[in-house]
């Protein structure tokens, strides 16, 4: 089978070696291209490593304020319901600073798609602790490991969104070829949910952050398999009928 780089990935990306964002960008671009919607999709981009995306991604993007990507996407979708609108956010953006926007878009059943890349820390600012940081994980702001007695438990967004009756909820990872293909399928289903007007769709992607985890690219992938997936299980959590 021939495989060519999607048109939207027209230039080399600016992410660190082994970063999962590169794969996530390509999967989104591939899905939109396969659906024939890469020409009229709109993205609201988060602040953080995700904000490197507009420079290297050939799909129309709006750079939202920190955490507000979901609110910006809702605005775009309400004005232009014919467009496929998605947000592309990291965990610091969507779950810490923009938690309210992420949740309220789901509460209102907004017909948008959220692509949420979870690498367990604030990557761009130097690896500070995020809501998704695992118990005991060392970051620059939790040098002795995250203490859940003072900082709370790692946030499992799937459990929080499930009762809000979303159209589609799924969590994929990037630990192998098979997992990457599954993640691509989740992204496709999420966009199809929006295309059919079923409601809020949300795909979380567990992504390696070798730079801030202090690991080699491959050790970071191994860490996801061994430590992250047991806390954040993979799969489809909500899939409305007909999707």
């Amino acid at each position: 089978m021939l495989k060519t780089i999607p048109k939207a990935c027209f230039i080399d990306n600016k992410y660190c070696p082994g970063c999962g964002h590169g794969i996530a960008n390509r999967l989104v671009a591939e899905v939109l291209e396969e659906m024939g919607r890469d020409g009229d999709a709109l993205a609201a981009i988060a602040v953080g490593c995700a904000s490197l995306m507009p420079d290297t991604f050939g799909i129309d993007c709006v750079q939202a304020q920190h955490g507000r990507a979901a609110a910006v996407a809702v605005g775009m979708k309400r004005c232009r319901p014919d467009k496929l609108v998605f947000t592309y956010q990291g965990d610091g953006d969507a779950l810490a600073i923009g938690f309210s926007e992420t949740m309220y878009a789901a509460v209102r059943h907004e017909n948008i798609t959220v692509i949420f890349v979870n690498n367990g820390n604030f990557g761009m600012t130097g690896g500070q602790m995020a809501p998704t940081t695992l118990e005991g994980q060392r970051t620059t702001t939790s040098p002795r490991g995250r203490d859940v007695r003072t900082t709370g438990d790692p946030m499992n967004i799937m459990e929080l969104l499930k009762p809000l009756d979303p159209a589609y909820l799924a969590r994929g990872s990037m630990t192998s070829n098979a997992e990457i293909l599954k993640t691509k399928k989740y992204i496709r289903t999420a966009f199809e949910a929006q295309e059919r007007g079923v409601g809020y769709s949300f795909v979380e992607i567990l992504s390696p952050c070798p730079t801030n985890w202090g690991l080699s690219a491959m050790d970071a992938v191994a860490r996801i398999r061994a430590e992250v997936v047991p806390v954040y299980p993979l799969g489809e959590f909500v899939k409305k009928e007909g999707l």
Partner: protein, 73 residues
């Protein structure tokens, strides 16, 4: 015939995801040269490569393509 092509050697950041994922062990990092980004780029052993496309799927830096080439390429 379909063949693995290193389309953007200069985009390679030597994360080795492709090298570890290749089911045939056909990929390796170049030993004596570096690319424009300063990393030893990936290279293909065409004796082993079956053009399955796993490297394309796992590459975060869009280095590979599976392309149609005429003859032995």
């Amino acid at each position: 015939m379909e063949k693995l092509v290193i389309r953007h050697e200069d985009w390679c950041k030597n994360c080795e995801f492709c090298i570890r994922s290749c089911p045939k062990g056909a990929l390796s990092a170049a030993e004596n040269r570096i690319n424009a980004k300063g990393y030893p780029p990936v290279q293909v052993d065409y004796e082993k490569c079956i053009a399955c496309g796993v490297c394309f799927n796992v590459c975060p830096d869009y280095v590979f393509e599976i392309a149609e080439v005429s003859g032995n390429g």
